[in-house]
C-alpha cells in the first residue's frame, strides 16, 4: 500500500469482514511521518450532497491544522455544492504544502450520483501531492478504467485481502496461540477461504477446546453458510447468561450499560459489556471511555436472524423499554425509532407530536417526513397537530402534492376536537397531545394554503389566504406572521402594487428581526430592496441593505447566508448612482465571501450586477458572457421574475447594435406592442420599446406604446419605470417633437435627481448628451444635468482599461503569473515553485480562466494592464 503515496487513488474494495478499516489504520500508522491525513468515516447520514462535502472539508481542515485555515472559508457548504464550490476547494487544496492523504472509509454507504460526480471532478483535478484513499464494499462510479490505464490507481481487492496459508498460521498459532496442526490450519484456511471475519469466529469457537481437529473436520464438512455455523458454535459455548444478553440486546444500534439494564430488566449491563469487550465477542467501543459500544454489524445481523422464539415474542417489550430509556434521556428521535421498530404506532405518534417543534427548529424536515411515512394514514388523520407538523415538513421540502388533502383532514380534526361538530364520527377519537400548539393551527392552516396558491400561480387566492394568515395568526407568532406578510407581499408585488408589497415585506422583516431570525431578515431584504428600486427609491434600498448587513455583523463571527446578496445589491445600486469604484469594491466583497454566503438567487444576481459594471466600462462582450451564465443560473426562489435576465441581455445586444439577436429574443419571448400590459412583463415591454427605438421605428407606433406603458407605470406609482420610460420618450421624440421630448426629459430629471440616478442617463450616449446640454442651457436642474453630462462623456466601445476581475487571483497564482512573464518553460516554473507539473497546469488553467484569456502571452499582457504584478520585472 505504500505505493499509494505515488498514485492518485488507492481503492480498497472488498466485502464486509475483510479488515479494510484495520488495514487503512495500520498503513497510516506506519506511513512516513510528515504526511497529513484527513480521515472521514462515512455513515448513512453522509449520503447527502451538502453533508458529505461539509464533513469532507471539516476533515481536511482538521488534518491541515493552522495551515488549513483557508478550508474554514469554504464552510458552511451551501445546500447545493456545485462546480464553483469544487473549484474553490481545489484552489485551497492547491495551496497545501507536503503530502496529504484524504481517506474515505466505508464509501459504499454513498449512492448519491451527485456526490460521486463531484468526487470524480475533484479526482480529475487533484494536485499531485494529494492522494485519495477509499475503502468500500462496492466499486465507486469513478472512471476506474481510465485511472487504471494511466497507472493512477492502486487497487486492493478481496483476493489481496484473504489470508494466505502462512498468514492463517501466523494468526491462529501466533497471535491466538491455539497451537493447531498444519493439517488443521490448511483445512480451516480452505473452508474460510481466508475470510478474516470467519477466521475470527473460528478462533472464538476453538478457544479452550480439546477436540480442535474434530471441530475443524465438522466445520469443513458442512455446507452451511459459514457465519451461521460459527455463530451457532460460539453461542453454544458461552454461558446462558451471556447468550441471553446477546439476543436481548442485538437489536440495539448502540449499547451502554444503563440502556442494556433498562432493556433486559437486570443490572450488570456495564460489566457484561466490558466482559464481551475483553473476550472479543464482536463488540466495538464507540468512545475512549468505553461507555458506548456497538456490535459488529455482521454478528448482530446473524444474531437477529436467529433469535429464539422466547426472545422474539418479547421484542415489542424490549423496544418499548429502550424507547422509555431514550425518552428519559431526552432523546425523542431515538425513542421514536425504537417505538416504531416495536410496532407501537400510537405511542410513536404521541412522541412525534412532542418532538416535532424541536426537530423543525433544527431544520430536520427530512426526519419528520420519514416519520410520517412510517405511520398509518388513519392514525395521522385523527391527530391534527401532528398532521400540521407533517404538512410543515412537506412544505419546507417543497413536496406539496399531498398537502391539500392533509390540510382538509386537519381542518376536520380540529373542528371535531373543539366540539364544533359533535355529530362527527371523528369527535370521539381525535387526539391532541401538545395542546400548546392549538392556537397556532388556524394561522398555520392558512399559511400553507397561501403557499399552495402561490405554487399554482393563483394570485387572487394567494392574497385571500395570506390576508387570513395575518388575521388568524397569534400576535406573538412572529414567524407565521412574517411568512404571511411576505407571501402577501409577493402577491401584491407580482400584481405591480408595489407600495402595498413594500409595506408588507417591511412588516415581515420587522417581525423576523423581532424573532431574531436574522438569516431570514437577509432573504426578505433582497425582496424589499428590489421593490424599493422599482419604486425609484434608491436611497431607501441602500438603507435596507445597510441595515441587514449591520444585523448580520452583530451575529458574530459566522457569516450568514445572504450576506453576499446584500453586497451584490449594493454594487448594482452604487453603479446606478455612478460610483464605479465603490461598485467594484462591493463586488469584490461578494467574491471574497463566495457563493456559499449567498441565497439561492445569488449566483445569477451577482453576475447581473457584474455585467452592468462591465457594460458601464464599455466591455459589452464581457457583459453578454456573464449574462449568458446568469440566464442559465436563474432560479425563482418564490420571487416573481420581474426582471428576466434574457431581457437584460437583449438590452446589451441593443446597445451593441446586435439588433438581429435582440429581435430573436423578442420572437422567443413573444412580447408585442399589442400585449395586455402587466407589471410582470413591464421590464420586457420596456426592453421591446428600446428595441423599436433602436430600429428607428420612432414613428407613431413606438410613441403610442411608450405612452401606454407610461400610463400603466404611473397608475402603479412605479417611479423607477416612470423615469426610464420618460428617458426613452425624450429620446424617441427628439427629432419629431422637440417640445414633447424636452418635457419628458424634464420629468425624468426632476424625479431622478433626489435619488441620484446616473447610469440610466449615461448609458444613452450622445443623443442623451445633446438633450442634457439643452437642459443645462435652460437651467433645468443644471448641476445634476452637468453631472450626468460628465458621466455620458466617458466614451464607450473602446477597449477597457480596467476590466473587472471576476475572481481575484490567489497568492500562489500570482507567483505562477510572475514566472509566466519570464522566459522559463512550464517544467522549469514548476521546479522553481517546487510543485508538480500537474499542479502547475491547474494553476495556469485557473489564471487563464480568471483573466479571460487562452494563452500565456495574453495572460501576461492582461496582467500588466490590470497592474497585477507591480512595476518591477522579476528577471
Amino acid at each position: 500500500m505504500g505505493r499509494g503515496t505515488k498514485s492518485k487513488l488507492t481503492l480498497i474494495s472488498a466485502p464486509a469482514g475483510f479488515g479494510k478499516t484495520t488495514l487503512l489504520a495500520e498503513w497510516l500508522a506506519n506511513s512516513a511521518s510528515g504526511r497529513a491525513v484527513a480521515w472521514l468515516s462515512l455513515d448513512q447520514t453522509d449520503n447527502d450532497l451538502a453533508t458529505f462535502w461539509s464533513h469532507l472539508v471539516a476533515a481536511l481542515q482538521a488534518a491541515t491544522g493552522a495551515a488549513g485555515a483557508a478550508f474554514t472559508d469554504l464552510l458552511p457548504v451551501g445546500p447545493k455544492p456545485d462546480e464553483a464550490f469544487l473549484a474553490k476547494l481545489l484552489n485551497v487544496l492547491g495551496d497545501v504544502s507536503g503530502d496529504l492523504d484524504l481517506v474515505l472509509d466505508d464509501f459504499h454507504v454513498i449512492d448519491q450520483r451527485s456526490i460521486e460526480e463531484g468526487l470524480s471532478f475533484l479526482l480529475e483535478h487533484l494536485p499531485s501531492n494529494i492522494h485519495l484513499v477509499m475503502s468500500t464494499r462496492a466499486d465507486p462510479a469513478l472512471a476506474l478504467g481510465r485511472l487504471r490505464a494511466r497507472g493512477e490507481l492502486i487497487e486492493i481487492r478481496s483476493g489481496d485481502l484473504r489470508f494466505i496459508p502462512e498468514e492463517v498460521t501466523a494468526y491462529i498459532n501466533g497471535s491466538m496461540r491455539l497451537g493447531l496442526t498444519a493439517q488443521d490450519i490448511t483445512v480451516l484456511g480452505g473452508r474460510t477461504e481466508g475470510w478474516i471475519a470467519a477466521l475470527q469466529l473460528a478462533v472464538l469457537s476453538l478457544e479452550g477446546r480439546n477436540d480442535a481437529t474434530a471441530f475443524i473436520e465438522g466445520f469443513a464438512g458442512s455446507d452451511r453458510y459459514i457465519v451461521d455455523y460459527l455463530v451457532e458454535e460460539v453461542l453454544q459455548r458461552v454461558p446462558d447468561e451471556i447468550r441471553h444478553f446477546l439476543f436481548c440486546s442485538c437489536f440495539l444500534e448502540r449499547l451502554s450499560g444503563s440502556l442494556c439494564d433498562a432493556v433486559i430488566g437486570s443490572s450488570g449491563g456495564k460489566a457484561m459489556l466490558d466482559a464481551l469487550d475483553r473476550q472479543n465477542l464482536f463488540i466495538v467501543p464507540l468512545d475512549d471511555r468505553r461507555q458506548w459500544y456497538r456490535y459488529h454489524h455482521l454478528f448482530a445481523d446473524v444474531l437477529r436472524a436467529h433469535l429464539p422464539d422466547e426472545v422474539r415474542n418479547e421484542l415489542p417489550t424490549l423496544h418499548r423499554r429502550a424507547a422509555d430509556w431514550y425518552e428519559e434521556q431526552g432523546d425523542r428521535p431515538e425513542a421514536i425509532s425504537q417505538v416504531l421498530a416495536g410496532g407501537d404506532f400510537e405511542r410513536a405518534a404521541e412522541l412525534m407530536e412532542m418532538a416535532i417543534p424541536d426537530v423543525q427548529k433544527a431544520r430536520g424536515e427530512a426526519i419528520i417526513r420519514n416519520w410520517m411515512r412510517a405511520l398509518p394514514t388513519e392514525l395521522v388523520r385523527a391527530r391534527p397537530v401532528l398532521g400540521m407538523g407533517f404538512v410543515g415538513a412537506l412544505a419546507a421540502l417543497g413536496e406539496l402534492g399531498e398537502v391539500e388533502g392533509r390540510l382538509g383532514d386537519i381542518e376536520r380534526g380540529l373542528a371535531a376536537f373543539s366540539g364544533g361538530d359533535a355529530r362527527s364520527s371523528l369527535a370521539h377519537r381525535v387526539v391532541v397531545i401538545d395542546t400548546t400548539q392549538l392556537p397556532r393551527m388556524p394561522g398555520a392552516m392558512e399559511l400553507y394554503r397561501t403557499a399552495l396558491a402561490q405554487v399554482r400561480g393563483d394570485i387572487p387566492r394567494m392574497i385571500y389566504h395570506a390576508e387570513r394568515v395575518l388575521a388568524l395568526a397569534q400576535p406573538d407568532d412572529h414567524v407565521s406572521r412574517a411568512a404571511g406578510s411576505s407571501l402577501l407581499g409577493i402577491a401584491y408585488w407580482s400584481a405591480g402594487n408595489l407600495e402595498q408589497a413594500r409595506r408588507l415585506w417591511s412588516d415581515g422583516r420587522d417581525g423576523l428581526e423581532h424573532a431574531t431570525h436574522i438569516a431570514d431578515v437577509l432573504g426578505v431584504s433582497v425582496a424589499l430592496a428590489d421593490i424599493s428600486i422599482a419604486q425609484g427609491h434608491l436611497v431607501e434600498a441602500k438603507q435596507v441593505y445597510d441595515h441587514a448587513l449591520e444585523l448580520a455583523a452583530a451575529q458574530g463571527v459566522q457569516v450568514l447566508r445572504g450576506t453576499a446578496d446584500m453586497y451584490a445589491g449594493l454594487a448594482a445600486l452604487s453603479l446606478q448612482q455612478g460610483e464605479l469604484q465603490i461598485a467594484h469594491q462591493h463586488l469584490q466583497k461578494c467574491h471574497e465571501l463566495g457563493e456559499v454566503a449567498g441565497l439561492p438567487q445569488h449566483p445569477y444576481r451577482w453576475r447581473v450586477a457584474a455585467a452592468h459594471l462591465r457594460q458601464s466600462e464599455g466591455n459589452l462582450e464581457g457583459a453578454v458572457a456573464l449574462l449568458d451564465e446568469a440566464v442559465r443560473l436563474y432560479v425563482g426562489d418564490f420571487f416573481p421574475n420581474v426582471r428576466p435576465v434574457a431581457a437584460t441581455r437583449a438590452r446589451v445586444w441593443i446597445a451593441q447594435g446586435r439588433l438581429g439577436d435582440a429581435t430573436r429574443w423578442q420572437r422567443e419571448t413573444g412580447v408585442g406592442i399589442d400585449d395586455e400590459l402587466s407589471y410582470l412583463r413591464e421590464f420586457e415591454h420596456i426592453t421591446l420599446a428600446r428595441l423599436l427605438i433602436a430600429k428607428n421605428e420612432t414613428g407613431g407606433v413606438s410613441s403610442a406604446f411608450l405612452a401606454r406603458l407610461l400610463d400603466q407605470a404611473t397608475s402603479g406609482d412605479r417611479v423607477g419605470s416612470i423615469i426610464e420610460l420618460s428617458v426613452l420618450q425624450a429620446l424617441a421624440l427628439r427629432t419629431s417633437d422637440a417640445a414633447g421630448s424636452f418635457l419628458a426629459l424634464e420629468k425624468a430629471l426632476s424625479l431622478a435627481e433626489p435619488e441620484g440616478y446616473v447610469r440610466l442617463f449615461a448609458e444613452e450616449g450622445e443623443p442623451m448628451a445633446a438633450l442634457l446640454r439643452l437642459a443645462v442651457k435652460r437651467r433645468i436642474v443644471p448641476t445634476y444635468a452637468q453631472r450626468l453630462l460628465a458621466a455620458v462623456g466617458q466614451p464607450r466601445g473602446r477597449p477597457q482599461v480596467h476590466p473587472d476581475l471576476i475572481e481575484p487571483l490567489s497568492e500562489r497564482e500570482l507567483d505562477v503569473l510572475r514566472l509566466l512573464r519570464s522566459d522559463l518553460g512550464g517544467p522549469e516554473i514548476a521546479r522553481e515553485l517546487s510543485v508538480s507539473e500537474n499542479t502547475m497546469r491547474t494553476h495556469t488553467k485557473n489564471i487563464y480562466e480568471k483573466l479571460g484569456v487562452n494563452n500565456r502571452r495574453s495572460a501576461v499582457r492582461r496582467a500588466e494592464e490590470l497592474n497585477l504584478l507591480g512595476r518591477n520585472s522579476p528577471h
Partner: protein, 96 residues
C-alpha cells in the same frame, strides 16, 4: 434505525426474482431477509425464491446479501407467464 423488514411485495412495479448464493443459509434468514422461502440446493447453494420486488427493493436485498459476505451466484428474473409448476418445489428443505 428500525429493524422491521421492508415488505418487498408492497412495491407497485414489483417483478418476481430468485437469487442464488453460495452456502446453505439457515431457514431463519427467510424472515430476516423478507423472502418467502429459501431452498438448499445440492450444489451447496441456497436459492431465495418468490422475491416480489421493484428495482429499488431488489438492489436493497442485494446489498443485504453483500453485507452478509455471501457470494452471489445468480439473480434470475422469473417470467410471470411461465407455468410455475415447472419450477423446482418451493420449500426450505433440501430436495431429494
Amino acid at each position: 434505525m428500525t429493524d422491521r423488514p421492508a415488505h418487498l411485495s408492497d412495491q407497485r412495479d414489483a417483478e418476481t426474482y430468485q437469487i442464488c448464493v453460495r452456502g446453505h443459509l439457515d431457514a431463519a434468514w427467510a424472515a430476516r431477509l423478507s423472502v418467502p422461502s429459501l431452498t438448499h440446493e445440492t450444489d451447496s447453494t441456497t436459492t431465495l425464491r418468490g422475491i416480489a420486488a421493484d428495482q429499488a427493493a431488489l438492489h436493497g436485498l442485494l446489498q443485504r446479501v453483500r453485507d452478509l459476505g455471501l457470494t452471489l451466484v445468480s439473480v434470475v428474473h422469473i417470467d410471470p407467464t411461465t407455468n410455475l409448476s415447472f419450477n423446482p418445489p418451493v420449500n426450505s428443505k433440501r430436495p431429494k
